[in-house]
Symmetry: C2
Subunit: 197 residues, 2 copies
């Protein structure tokens, strides 16, 4: 058997263990939510030693990042599938399920919040990447929306996009610890994007 075959075989075992851990983690979360996840419980269900867990994930957060990141990606798929919204309200509505997931549990929200910093810097994690995707999606929306014309010229797409995306997704929900502010945000945002109305 050639070296590559061995390497592949070894990788197979690694992948299998990793899958066992992820499956176990998903099972725990499905039953008890993200908050209640214990590494001990995960390795017990996966049938591996505790040390193995940390060979596959840097720490507990790394696992959560991956699981939560995957969930965000699923939401983004749905958002993209809906196409470009026609109004600010439509935009808020399209993002709502994602925002709702983000604030479904305090723990989830904290993980996401922690990553939002990394998104703007060099260090990139799984969730930071999904933020990048969200930024792209929203940028497309903004470019196509009618009210885009009302934005003063010196506020370029990049700035607006960062402002809108990050504000929408995190800020107001963080500050109010619920998804309610989405509605108020829509009001502020409309006023901001259409100052002459």
């Amino acid at each position: 058997m050639p070296k590559q075959a061995m390497a592949r075989a070894i990788q197979q075992r690694t992948l299998k263990t990793r899958a066992k851990l992820l499956d176990a983690a998903n099972a725990v979360i499905t039953e008890n939510g993200y908050e209640a996840l214990r590494v001990e419980e995960v390795v017990l269900r996966a049938g591996v030693a505790k040390g193995t867990f940390f060979a596959h994930f840097k720490d507990k957060d790394a696992l959560m990042d991956q699981l939560i990141g995957a969930e965000i990606d699923r939401h983004l798929d749905m958002i993209e599938a809906q196409g470009v919204p026609e109004t600010i309200d439509g935009m808020a509505a399209a993002l709502m399920p994602l925002v709702k997931f983000m604030s479904c549990e305090r723990y989830v929200f904290d993980v996401i919040l922690r990553h939002s910093g990394a998104a703007a810097n060099a260090g990139i994690g799984p969730i930071a990447t999904t933020f990048g995707r969200q930024a792209e999606v929203t940028a497309t929306w903004l470019a196509d929306m009618p009210f885009r014309r009302d934005i003063s010229p010196d506020l370029q797409a990049e700035g607006v996009q960062a402002f809108v995306v990050q504000a929408i997704s995190l800020v107001f929900c963080a500050l109010h610890n619920s998804v309610d502010p989405q509605e108020r945000l829509a009001i502020y945002l409309r006023a901001w994007l259409t100052p002459n109305a």
Copy 2:
């Protein structure tokens, strides 16, 4: 000796222990920063048992809240002493030292961020209270500033205040994990407050 005298004497002992704990905590932080603070270390220096710590503070965060809240208050005293700034840039500059403290360490920032949610809700902690103070200060500024006239009427002071204060203090620093965004925020903010310029 009347009952009240006893109550007072007991309170004296309590206060003394509490002071010992706070002094010890401050010493540790001065030497090694907030991040490195361990409850073990604090009680060791204070010369009390571990259980005593938790009789005086609900948890480690409660201690940090108090220490960080006190520091924020000191900054707010300085900010108020400076009087009302005349421009957006002056406003950003006046808030800068406070913002810098807020992001001096990841841990400090996380504590503050955690409290920013509580500020908008019912549950109020020490830091949430200081946020209230900051909101008042900034509201005063906004009311007196010349560009206040340019804000569309339906954006009332309450909304603007919340938006500006919370955005300035937390959001952009959180998203970029540094104080740099203050400058960019000044640009966005000016554009937002003076849409006809």
